[in-house]
Amino acid sequence: MPSRRDSHRPSYRDLADEDLMQLVQRAEAAAFEVVYDRHAGAAFSLAYRMCGARQLAEEVVQEAFLSIWRSGARYDRRRGSVRTWVLGITHHRAIDALRRGVVQDRHRASDEGLEERFEASERTDVEVARREEALEVRGALDDLPDDQRRAIELAYYGGFTQSEIAEMLGVPIGTVKGRMRLGMEKMRDRLAPAEVLP
């Protein structure tokens, strides 16, 4: 006997990201909305951190999510979680925007104070776990020797190329690459047991 619940719309919010992406591939807008609601916060935070300007961060996130909507088929669950995929696309879009030279004063972007801290209204388990995860990654980064941390931050958040970083720091490219490598290895050792949340 069909339960009465069957007469309700299926709740997309109960579905895992990977299942939602299959619906997005079939152009189901409601499924896409849930994917957006789950990950737009992290994507916007990343874009804002990188661009240092609200308007540009909005453009980056809009471009990223439109490309996700239009090319959902390219998501491959074997390569990682939907969240990682979304953030990877956002990162690429932000780098493209930065390298197009949209932001004039890029040096400030990575150092600008972010006064608009987000207090989540709901402290769900996932939310709490994500905060802990953020603290852990932040801690791993902060504990690196300054020159390694700086090289990683300028590259990942600043969107600078290795040549630009070498010039900014006044060291050979080989040194910049070596610092990135050492820093990443240390972070990997520290983060290895942790799993990225879905």
């Binding site: 079939r26 152009a27 807008a29 896409f32 909305e33 957006y36 737009a40 916060g41 992290a42 994507a43 916007f44 935070s45 990343l46 804002y48 951190r49 609200r54 909005e58 453009e59 996130v61 809009q62 439109l66 909507w69 239009r70 088929a73 990682g80 990682t84 953030l87 990877g88 990162h91 972010l114 608009e116 801290r117 989540a120 994500r130 995860e133 953020a134 990654v137 932040r138 791993a140 980064l141 590259a155 990942y156 958040y157 969107g159 190329t161 290795q162 970083i165 910049v176 690459k177 990135m180 490598r181 820093g183 990443m184 290895e185 972070m187 990997r188 983060l191 290895a192 942790a194 990225v196």
Partner: protein
């Protein structure tokens, strides 16, 4: 123990996005052929994947969601309208049509808070059977343009024009119902023309503020505008356009 590959450090730069175009392609080609670097990429990717999680959280503005979803819903609608075609399995390349629109480029619009997206996109609606042998795919050529909506008229209003195979539809959300005795009228500004031409595309909106109207041919049209006019429409605008889209 094997010697370290000389590209080992470049792998880190690659994962952090610090390689410029040519360097990146070069490294990708190398990684494809070097098992040691492939392993490095897999191991260090964990760090690159974790870095976005360490930034201070900043909430995205609600208006961003509204603009994005206006486009997404409009495109989803077009795709579901294409359902009859989509059911028919045809080889994708044969379905690809010539598309008359200009190449993708960002559109500029003065004084608009809206972000504009002008795209010519090919949607692939596909389904693969379990054996992976048969692939059904229909490519629907769609172009969507986000219009700007004057916040004074509709603070939460969104408007999107969807063009599918030369047939354009304006879809609006969050608009006020026209005042009594008024109706919304669509105007088209032809390239090089001094004044917009009236159309018979007159519409109202639901109490929820949503509505849609089919537009006359938009070929050669530079701009689409909407004004509030007396019922029956006007020959020349009697008010300022509150929706503007540059095609």
């Amino acid at each position: 123990m094997s010697e370290r590959c000389r590209h080992a450090d470049t792998v880190a730069a690659y994962l952090l996005g610090a390689l410029a175009g040519a360097e990146r392609r070069e490294l990708e080609a190398h990684v494809a052929a070097c098992p040691q670097c492939r392993e490095d990429v897999a191991e260090l990717r964990v760090v690159a994947d974790a870095l976005p999680l360490a930034v201070p959280p900043v909430p995205p503005p609600p208006a961003l969601r509204e603009r994005l979803m206006a486009t997404v819903h409009a495109e989803a609608e077009v795709l579901s309208a294409a359902g009859a075609d989509a059911d028919r399995p045809v080889p994708a390349p044969a379905r690809r049509r010539r598309f008359a629109w200009a190449p993708v480029r960002p559109l500029a619009l003065a004084g608009a808070a809206a972000l504009l997206v002008g795209v010519a996109l090919g949607f692939g609606v596909g389904a693969a059977t379990n054996d992976g042998q048969t692939k059904t795919q229909t490519v629907v050529q769609v172009r969507t343009v986000q219009a700007s909506v004057t916040p004074a008229t509709a603070p939460r209003g969104t408007a999107v024009i969807v063009v599918r195979d030369g047939v354009a539809t304006l879809r609006v959300r969050g608009l006020p119902v026209p005042p009594p005795g008024k109706v919304y009228e669509v105007w088209l500004l032809r390239r090089g023309a001094a004044a917009p031409s009236p159309t018979d595309a007159l519409f109202s909106v639901s109490t929820q503020g949503s509505g849609r109207v089919a537009l006359p041919s938009v070929r050669g049209i530079e701009q689409v505008m909407v004004t509030a006019e007396p019922v029956g429409g006007s020959e020349a605008p009697t008010s300022q356009p509150f929706i503007n889209a540059t095609l």
